[in-house]
Amino acid sequence: MDGVLIPTLVSGLLLGSLYALMASGLSLIWTTLGVFNFAHGALMTLGAYIAWTVTEQLGLGLAAGFVAGIGAAVIAGVVIELLLVRPFYGSRNMMLITVMTTLAASTIIERGISVIWGPRLKQLPRVIDGQVNILGAPVSAHETLIIVLAPAVLLALWWYTGRTRSGRSLRAVGQNQDSAALIGIDVPRTFSLAFGLSAALAGVTGVLLGSIRFITPGLGADPLVNAMIVVIFGGLGSLGATAGAAYVIGMMEALLVLWLGLYWTPSVLFVALIAVLVFRPNGLFGKVSA
């Protein structure tokens, strides 16, 4: 069984890492603004395309590509906040309206990418070539990097929101906007900050994903669905709950693939998801009462 189990666990870890990176961005915006950003996947895609253009077309190297890709995602994220989210603050159905506007943003970005870059597949070079041996299972160095990098990013995020002034201000705004404003926090600017930071996470995920999968205009669509499952499982609450849920889902998915085959895995995940919500309406790690 060892020969199968270890690679499966590594798969689970890799999936969990990718989900954690994506879902933490979603969760960050949700906890700060109460907005669910359906354009998160499209921001990932945008980051990957910009990184590809800078790396491959302009030939400026992968490092420059990464910076440009993440930067582009951040700019797009802030623009979405300014144009598509900010006008609806305080309106009765803000949460639902912003679901629609961010969905529209994702259409615009994805279709726009298709117009600009054309439909042909692209791929970024890997950050590191070669292989690493994890407990006897060979894994590509690039994927190992993702497995190591994701927890590091999450830790940095945790440290940032817990220990720094601007990070704490994000949490403060998420918990009580009026009180935050009354101790001098610029609430709208904090919203932009949350969107920018979340978009940066999307960009990071995008460029990492862009070198293990082909880059297409729909690169972010599937991961977005998975990240949504993660945040539902996690209960959209804290960073810890989201990250925990990400790794639980990643492992579940890998083990389900092993036991049931890839075929039934998505259906089982969806059923599990709906079941979790029936019994725990605020998610697996969410608070029991609303």
């Binding site: 506007t101 669509a221 075929y263 259906s267 709906i274």
Partner: protein, 318 residues
């Protein structure tokens, strides 16, 4: 609904009813039929989304369930398409009851997420039950409608046009009646003032179950019609692009107004078709629809019907 609006709706219906006598080409009639289908899905979605304030992201799944009900009944069980079409409404209502169980208890974004997951689950089931559903390929060559010797595919879509229009008209009338019933009023009251429910002892859970089931029936029926009309059922009906398109119709038309989404469905279908004829606009037309939706949400949150209402000077009563 004011007298003006009722007159307007009646005039529109009469106008649409005489269209086939002037529009004789199959293509334009087809675009009308597709617009009626989308309009039916949109107005029913408006019941739960606009009037009920329930963000049911799985509404298009009811449509897909209707599509596959009709397709499976006619192919696997040789049921007459005349029975298969309304059967779509029944299965869609059953599905609505099932999804209402978790939805009744959930709040806000969780409603969005769980109904979205429901749509994805339907898609997965269709893909995995290939023997019955045809899997990713779908089911083709479904039987078409006939009355005696009269074949619906032999009249340049004359009869299909009226059938589609009838389904839409029935939907709109039923929904307007619901909107004006005590149930519709309590829906709006709860939507606008959640505390009202508690003070009046209204069961929000029961309301949600009712609203989901009510909005699913005609959606399933028109799904059945879609399958029989195009003679094919394929899994794209559960996809994101149809959901996005129809929800833009609801919002551009004006959520909660019933008539608005129907107008928007016609307008958007013809507008995107007009753009489809232009080389190089293939992606851009989707961008234009998305931008239009954003602009409407920002400039006229009540939708185009609200703009018309203001122009006509008759206040919108929802």
């Amino acid at each position: 609904m004011t007298r003006t609006q009722r007159l307007f709706a009646l005039a529109a219906l009469v106008l649409l009813a005489i269209v086939p006598f002037f529009v004789t080409d199959s293509y334009t009639r087809h675009v009308f039929i597709v617009a009626f289908i989308y309009a039916t899905v949109a107005v029913n979605w408006d019941l739960s989304l606009g009037l009920g304030g329930l963000f049911n992201f799985g509404h298009v799944a009811f449509f897909g369930i209707g599509v596959y009900t009709a397709a499976i009944l006619t192919t696997a069980l040789d049921v007459s398409p005349w029975i298969a079409i309304p059967a779509g409404g029944i299965t869609a209502a059953i599905a609505a009851l099932i999804i209402a169980l978790p939805v009744a208890k959930l709040q806000g974004i969780y409603v969005v997420l769980v109904t979205f997951a429901f749509g994805q689950l339907c898609l997965q089931i269709v893909l995995s039950q290939g023997d019955l559903t045809g899997g990713a390929e779908g089911l083709v060559r479904l039987p078409y409608l006939t009355i005696g010797d009269y074949k619906f595919i032999r009249d340049f879509k004359f009869a299909y046009y009226y059938l589609a229009l009838a389904i839409l008209a029935v939907s709109v009338i039923v929904l307007l009646l619901i909107a004006q019933s005590p149930f519709g009023k309590s829906l709006r009251a709860v939507r606008d003032n959640p505390d009202y429910a508690a003070s009046r002892g209204i069961s929000v859970a029961r309301q949600r179950v009712l609203v989901l089931v009510a909005s699913s029936v005609m959606t399933g029926v028109v799904g059945g019609f879609y399958a029989i009309y195009l003679r094919v059922a394929s899994p794209e009906v559960f996809g994101f692009s149809i959901a996005t398109l129809v929800v833009s119709m609801v919002l551009i038309g004006g959520a909660g107004s019933i008539i608005g989404p129907a107008i928007a469905a016609l307008a958007l279908t013809f507008a995107t078709e007009a753009m489809a004829g232009v080389r190089g606009m293939e992606e851009a037309r989707f961008i234009i629809v998305a931008v239009a939706m954003i602009v409407v949400l920002q400039v006229a949150p009540g939708g185009v019907v609200d703009i018309f209402g203001r122009l006509l000077g008759s206040g919108r009563k929802t």
